[in-house]
């Protein structure tokens, strides 16, 4: 089957039938709604605590959201194919510990980072191979690797947290590869933008939606279903590892529990962003905005001074509203 045929077969209906002017709004209506919700939440918090609307707070928000944004984009890829990766939080923790440990053993920043990313690659391959070639359920496979990576995060340093000995490692997060743009922001924009472009415009990206919608139909159409699935698990784990080294660069301290809450947050961000856990839908921009929304809620709850135990309830409510709005919107569509 030619590449052209693939492109036609997997092109979204909207882009075929609607005029260009309305196409953008139709394609990104969920994202626009999330963005509007974020703005409204922020304005609401700002009305109660004016400091919320300061440049400093926006910088804090961006920094706090960066690792979750990157992880969520990775998680999204797996979710689009109809899978799920529960291991991202543990991979995050293990990556941080391995990277810091490598530095403690005298490796330079680059080599240590590669060691950390290697953790992501290994777990991504293990997840992908077990899901695709062994035919095991993604939930079960990633539950196993979640437990294993989480356990290894303690084992590698006997549970002790590890400070980063490399004084210049902060540059990975806080340096400026492009003048005026802090690296963490650059990574978020590049990763989200590239992923969105690939998902929308590149044939291989469209395959993810096809596989998520119907793997059997995709196989009949000649799409390499197994390789597509495998690649999403590898990229997902790699992005979780990258989020971890970024966080490590910022915090300068590795902890075995660092990623413990991030797995659920990443999945929540993906769902808030409009993806279906049944596969076949979702966008990188939506996932990134979902991650930003979770961070905005956490920030808002803290700034207003609400008991921080309410964060989970507020996040849960937001997910419920997002899912309901999405469902109503799709029903009308």
């Amino acid at each position: 089957m030619s590449k052209r045929t693939h492109a036609v077969l997997t092109r979204p209906v909207d882009t075929v039938t609607r005029p260009r002017g309305t196409r953008f709004l139709v394609n990104y209506r969920t994202e626009a709604a999330i963005l509007l919700a974020i703005v409204l939440i922020e304005l609401g918090v700002g009305a109660m605590t004016p400091q919320a609307l300061t440049r400093g707070n926006f910088a804090d928000l961006a920094q706090a959201a960066a690792p979750l944004v990157i992880m969520s984009v990775g998680e999204l890829l797996v979710v689009i194919t109809g899978g799920i990766d529960l291991s991202v939080g543990s991979v995050f923790s293990l990556t941080g510990m391995v990277t810091a440990l490598a530095m403690a053993y005298g490796l330079d920043g680059v080599s240590s980072t590669l060691c950390g990313l290697g953790v992501g690659a290994i777990f991504g391959i293990v997840n992908g191979v077990l899901v695709t070639f062994a035919g095991l359920a993604p939930f079960v496979v990633t539950l196993i690797t979640y437990a294993t990576a989480g356990s290894l995060a303690f084992i590698v340093t006997d549970g002790h947290s590890m400070p980063v000995p490399n004084q210049n490692y902060y540059l990975l997060n806080s340096g400026t590869l492009i003048p005026g743009v802090t690296n963490f922001l650059l990574y978020c924009v590049v990763i989200t933008g590239t992923t969105e472009f690939v998902l929308r415009k590149v044939v291989a990206g469209r395959w993810l939606y096809a596989v998520g919608s119907s793997s059997e139909a995709s196989r009949l159409l000649g799409i390499p279903v197994q390789k597509t699935r495998l690649s999403t698990y590898v990229v997902c784990s790699l992005l979780a590892s990258f989020a971890s080294v970024l966080s490590l660069s910022y915090i300068s301290n590795a902890e075995a529990t660092a990623g413990s809450s991030l797995m659920l947050q990443a999945i929540a961000a993906v769902v808030i962003g409009g993806a279906s856990l049944f596969g076949g839908t979702g966008s990188a921009i939506g996932a990134a905005l979902g991650a930003l929304m979770i961070t905005v809620i956490q920030n808002g709850v803290n700034l207003i001074g609400i008991n921080s135990f309410w964060q989970g309830s507020v996040t849960g409510l937001v997910i419920l509203i997002a899912v309901l709005i999405d469902r109503v919107g799709k029903a009308r569509h």
Binding site: T49, Q51, A52, T54, G56, N57, D60, Q63, A64, P67, F154, D158, G159, H160, S161, P163, S247, Y250, I251, S252, N253, E255, A256, T257, A258, S260, S261, Q298, N299, N302, L303, G305, N307, S308, F309, Q311
Partner: protein, 326 residues
Amino acid sequence: MGAKLKNVFGATAAALLMLSCAARAADKYTVAYIAPSLDISYWQWVAYGVKTEAAKLGINYIEMTSENSPSTQMNNIRTAVTRGVNAVVIGPVSSTSTPPVLRFLKEHQIPVAFTGIGPAPGETDYTSSVTANNYETGVAEGKFICDEAKKLGGNKIGMLSLPLDRENAQKYLNGAKEAFSTEGCDLVQILQTHGLTVNEAVAQANDLLTAHPDIKGIYGMYDEAATGAVKALQTRGLIGKIAVATADGSPTTVKLLRDGAIQGLFLQEAVGQGIDATEQVYNALTGKKVTKDLPLPEPLVTKDTIDSPEMQAKLKRVYPPSAGAY
């Protein structure tokens, strides 16, 4: 035939000798340490204390984790008793989870010592409760951070707290509030942790500083709080302009203290609690005197006192050598 019989007798004698040695080894006391969870350094360090003291006293040591679940904790206790332990050192999941544990151990006449978290109020069927004196520490840390804030020209304090449903957190808070009231400081906001991670503490410290830019002191109830607060202050160029104090102590916060980023550490003797609790149950087993309630003080250490022999000795009762430098 005679040679064969000799061989059989020889083998039997050797086997009996081995069994007798094994029996003698089994005669050694065994202590079980039941941790609420082992994903927090604090409980690992208590475990190190129990293990070290057990080795010193010639006691066998086994370890179990309750994964923060009262039912798992009860299962662990039952398993430990089935395995024939002679004493239990427990960091309970919560004070309120302790009555059934104490009833069960009393039935089996097994001495039990608490570490970190004590038994429920009104419970008396335990050997010893080795905890930190959280209330007194709360007062002392409150007074210390208030004084530091005043030196920096303000009286507003922000707090990064443990979950306030914990008894020790309430004691810290009540102590701190009393000190603030006495010393004339204002506690402007309390942010509770969920995950006890530095990452979370950084975000919370940033939010605290955004909501209350005029604070002059940050009161941490746990080690990661101070590490997170320092990171937030570093990013904003506020090191030395806002004071930081915390309870606990670790290689990370000790280094930050030496660097002048943290002004005061109130050392909680995690290792020491394990050591003292094990000593208490051993005393009970051997008929020696036991101390029922042993609230250990949390001494203040500053940059000026960190290298004193007294504080170095205290630090060795906070975390094990494998955790990092003292």
